[in-house]
């Protein structure tokens, strides 16, 4: 098998940190997450006490780095704070030497991660090997559920918007009853009136679509600004892609034109006297 690196990656634990204390010789080097450093008022070079339980916060840690964790959508709601220690320091702190939670394995070029994982699972005992893709797929389940929920809400919103649009277009065209009656009285052909009303409906739908796109852009920007501040993260919460804009504009135009056509067709096939209110 083409394994060329095999090293312990992580030993995660709940650690408790309090206050700052005097520097000593036996100090563990600690990288502190930026948000935690801000909350505790820590900066590089500070020392603090650290321990696995309230009654054993006895070891000293030295802040050697402050880091910004990679934004992770699956983690933002947890509001957990992290520190990173050298593995031997963390193992010593927890009194659990030579123990890790997981290993990272780098494969030689050309070796399939799934094949390597299957081989490890066949040959070893006491652990389970996963390819990075399998882990990514598993850990993205939460986001897939959120995505499905958003899609379902989007479908309901589209149906509601479609009905709203149909209703408005119908009313808008019906407002032109008197105009249509006058045009019919002076001899304008039905086809011309139908075309004029359809054009008007299309223009309104186009204008509404453009305005709606602008509104969506502003709402998206506001959503991103709010949630980035709320969760203190750089993640993008609302993403308006050209595909989404094209779909929305296309749907609005199609619905507007269809609604306009239906209403206009009804109008031009109504007797002029009825349109005039004397029929």
């Amino acid at each position: 098998m083409g394994i060329h690196a095999w090293r312990p990656r992580v030993f995660a634990a709940v650690l408790l940190i309090i206050g700052a204390g005097p520097a000593r010789a036996q100090v563990a080097e600690v990288a502190v997450e930026r948000r935690l450093a801000e909350e505790l008022g820590l900066s590089i070079g500070d020392t603090f006490r650290i321990g696995p339980a309230v009654d054993s916060i006895t070891k000293l840690g030295l802040v050697t780095a402050i880091y910004e964790p990679r934004p992770d959508p699956a983690e933002i709601a947890k509001r957990e704070r992290h520190v990173r220690l050298h593995l031997p320091d963390l193992a010593a702190l927890l009194g659990a030497p030579d123990r890790v939670d997981r290993y990272g394995v780098g494969l030689r070029p050309g070796v399939s991660p799934d094949t390597a994982a299957a081989a490890l699972n066949r040959s070893a005992f006491g652990y389970r090997a996963y390819s990075s893709r399998a882990i990514a797929s598993e850990s993205s389940q939460t986001l897939l559920v959120v995505s499905r929920f958003h899609r379902a809400i989007a479908v309901i919103t589209i149906v509601a918007s479609a009905v709203f649009l149909l209703c408005i277009m119908l009313l808008k065209v019906e407002e032109r009853r008197m105009d249509a009656a006058v045009m019919r009285f002076v001899g304008v052909r039905r086809r011309t009136i139908f075309g004029a009303l359809l054009l008007e409906a299309a223009l309104i739908a186009a204008f509404g679509s453009v305005a709606g796109s602008g509104l969506a852009y502003l709402a998206g920007a506001a959503t991103n600004a709010y949630y980035r501040r709320f969760f203190d993260t750089g993640l993008t919460f609302s993403l308006i892609t050209p595909t989404i804009v094209l779909f929305s504009v296309g749907l609005s135009l199609a619905l507007g034109i269809v609604a306009g056509a239906v209403a206009a067709w009804r109008l031009v096939h109504t007797r002029p006297l009825v349109l005039w209110g004397r029929g």
Binding site: V14, I156, G277
Partner: protein, 398 residues
């Protein structure tokens, strides 16, 4: 003709537009109801889940939420003993959660193991067979998923394996146990393969056979519900090494984690109301404009302005009531679908619901919609009363 009849006749006269308006209001009402259920349902469902067996307080290792990490608390037996001696406490029990393996023919199946104290347990409900007794060192309880995985039923013997040692390719500790019963673990996600033994057996499996007195969680049932906050405060002082959570505390943490959904529900509910207002206002405004001649005639023969205003209001209310009634049916159906999506969150207890249909949700959504729908008729009603009688009649006549 009564005001209601008049309104209904007017709406029937414009069938297509009435149908579209009612459809729009119904969809908006459905969305509003769903969002009202979502905003309140999360915390209510979670609180009910936590109180499923009546335990109002949880104690966990400092800095952790129940079963959120693998952290355990030491000397669990001594802490439980102290809790049980407290006169305000009806019962207290420890739970240890760990991962272990079950033997299925020649392979091992990964399982979730719970060590429990049967005399004070709040995490499972019996489905078949009988419960463990406090000194039953040979018994085990299985979830239906494990029974299926191991092909075992009540009375069968299963083999559980604790910590595995990769160096020597052997199990650290193994136990053969008799299945006493099939249970539903209250906080398990759908299909979770869980087994339960009495606490010492699970402690031995988790620690590789070494003597151990750890637990992941302590459950406390207080005699008097009203005394829960006071007891929780007292326990915080008494056990500074532990985190003490009442159900209200846990609901607060849970709400923080799901704050996104609550905020989304508020935004979508507001949008639904805006759509409803726009629909009703637009429809009634155009209807009033079309009927200005009719309104002017009525005013000319002595019908009071208040009657005209009432008429427009009734029309708006009829639209809202019909739309809302349809919307409630539609909302309940869509809520089930949306709930089925959100409850597929990995790790979420199977008994949890995001959309909980309750009388108060229906009443709240209905009232909000009725008030909004009625207010939406204000502008068209104002237009109707401002119509100049003589000018309108003259214009109608020409």
């Amino acid at each position: 003709m009564s005001g209601l009849n008049w309104a209904v006749q007017n709406l029937i006269r414009q069938r297509l537009r009435t149908l579209l308006a009612v459809s729009g209001i119904a969809i908006s009402a459905a969305m509003l109801l769903d969002m009202v259920m979502l905003s309140g349902g999360i915390e209510k469902s979670f609180a009910e889940l936590l109180l499923a067996k009546g335990y109002q307080i949880r104690l966990t290792p400092k800095g952790t939420l129940p079963f959120d990490t693998e952290a355990t608390l030491d000397r669990a037996g001594s802490v439980v003993g102290r809790l049980r001696r407290d006169t305000a406490i009806e019962s207290a029990g420890a739970v240890l959660g760990t991962s272990l393996y079950g033997r299925s023919r020649d392979s091992l199946v990964t399982l979730v193991g719970y060590g429990i104290q049967p005399e004070a347990q709040g995490i499972y409900q019996m489905q078949r067979g009988r419960d463990l007794t406090p000194d039953d060192t040979l018994g085990v309880l299985l979830s239906p998923a494990v029974a299926g995985l191991l092909g075992a039923g009540v009375g069968d013997t299963v083999s559980l394996v604790g910590r595995l040692d990769p160096q020597v390719a052997a199990a650290g500790v193994s136990r053969r146990l008799v299945v006493r019963g099939i249970v539903r673990w209250v906080y398990d996600y759908r299909g979770q393969p869980s087994v339960g033994t009495i606490l010492p057996v699970m402690q031995a499996l988790a620690s590789g056979g070494r003597p151990d007195d750890t637990a992941s969680l302590l459950l406390v049932k207080v005699r008097n519900d009203a005394a829960v906050p006071a007891v929780a405060d007292r326990l915080r002082k008494e056990f500074p090494r532990l985190e003490v959570y009442s159900v209200a505390d846990l609901v607060r943490f849970f709400k923080q984690r799901l704050v996104y959904f609550r905020q989304l529900s508020y935004i979508l509910a507001t949008m639904s109301l805006i759509v409803t207002v726009l629909l009703i206002t637009t429809l009634l405004t155009i209807t009033v404009n079309e009927r200005l001649g009719e309104i002017a005639t009525l005013r000319a023969i002595g019908i009071a302005r208040s009657t005209v205003v009432r008429q427009v209001f009734i029309e708006g209310t009829v639209l809202t009531v019909v739309g809302a009634a349809l919307g409630i049916v539609l909302g309940l159906a869509t809520a089930r679908y949306l709930d089925s999506i959100l409850t597929s969150f990995p790790g979420l207890p199977a008994a949890f619901s995001f959309f909980v249909p309750r009388q108060e949700s229906l009443v709240t959504a209905g009232l909000v919609l009725m008030v909004t729908g009625s207010l939406a008729g204000l502008y068209p009603a104002w237009l109707a009363t401002r119509a100049p009688i003589a000018a309108t009649l003259r214009s109608e006549a020409t």
